[in-house]
Symmetry: C2
Subunit: 222 residues, 2 copies
């Protein structure tokens, strides 16, 4: 085994790990110190083989017929997902959504610390949102470098998403959490994770419409 | 063809339609009245056959070698996704995230109108957030019925997500937009669309960590 060879973890595994962490934390709160894959799998409606495989990605192997030590497993997931080394981030775009994210305290549990926001709007620059400064965009390159910030949370309007993403990349941002509906075209070395509210809402609205159409349609004779 | 037979649209198609709409709207703003699948596909980095198939789901067929009339295509997508019939929704959980969504003006373009929020916290009940009332949870069933609200946006903490989701379903909510990290177990007739920030963030953080690990690892001799 060579520690320098990094095998990327499959995305579905990464997406499930926070849910395992939540189940484990709840068990620990209730005084449980040992848990099996089967238990976690049942709690989340997953397959236990899948759970075992996902947990193995964090580098922890359970004991056959015993299971996992709950605190060790929590620790393993937190280390693996980087929740222990808090990662600093900037929000780019201090509109409603950007402002909301500045005030959302739930990110800290996942190791994300939003330092401040950047915007081009003179009416916003110099204000604070939930105690965090809104700074002018032209300060971004300097602050990314000085504060070693790797993550930029993109919350501008779709029309300026591409232009702003380019500015972020030039400023030295390595990973973009993209809350716009724009599919960004950036260099392959830049990590982009999409969080598209409009796409999610489209699924919800249409399914609801289809459900309502079905329920009012007359019975079709056999 | 029988209009009463509803074939559910594949989710990936639904997720792409808002992006097509954005491209089309931009073309229309520039005075373009006709567009081809190829043009849309290139703009979004997709396959043109895929685009044609997705657009056909909304009930519109382009003319060979001519393409689509841009205004008709915009209209078709908007009608299909229900953006023209504004859908009312309640936010359940008036914390930071719930409050943020109450203030986010971007939903209106997608036909979602958030009427008010519900919470159990006496300190929040009776206040307004961005001009919208925070109401007590026990008023939910009555208001869902009287105002015919189908969508509930769940933004409570993970620990109470299941309990609150059950209350929403009993109150008559048909579709839950789930912003918690909890995989909800509800009746199959209830539509659940997950918007899990922690899962998305897990992917982003880990990829960034893997990227940094790779970049600092020594060159392995051949």
């Amino acid at each position: 085994m060579n520690a320098n060879i990094i095998r990327p973890t499959p995305e579905p595994t990464l997406r499930r790990l926070p849910a395992y962490h939540r189940v484990l934390q709840r068990l620990l709160d209730r005084g449980r110190t040992v848990v099996s894959c089967t238990h976690i799998a049942e709690d989340l409606g997953l397959d236990s083989t899948q759970v075992r495989k996902d947990l193995a990605a964090t580098g922890i192997i359970g004991k056959p017929k015993v299971g996992y030590a709950v605190p060790a497993l929590i620790d393993s997931i937190e280390t693996y997902l980087g929740w222990k080394n808090v990662t600093d981030a900037f929000v780019i775009g201090a509109g409603h959504l950007g402002g909301a994210l500045l005030g959302y305290d739930g990110f800290k549990a996942y190791g994300l610390n939003i330092l401040s926001a950047f915007d081009n709007d003179p009416a916003k620059i110099g204000t604070t949102i939930y105690g965090k400064d809104v700074l002018p965009m032209d300060k971004l390159p300097d602050l990314v470098e000085r504060m070693h910030v790797g993550i930029g949370i993109l919350t501008v309007r779709a029309a300026s998403a591409h232009e702003v993403a380019d500015i972020m990349v030039m400023a030295g941002i390595k990973a973009i959490w993209n809350f716009t509906q724009v599919k960004l075209q950036v260099a392959p070395s830049i990590i982009v994770e999409n969080m598209d509210l409009s796409a999610s809402l489209a699924v919800l609205s249409r399914k609801l419409a289809e459900r309502n159409e079905v329920s009012v349609s007359p019975v079709i004779p056999l």
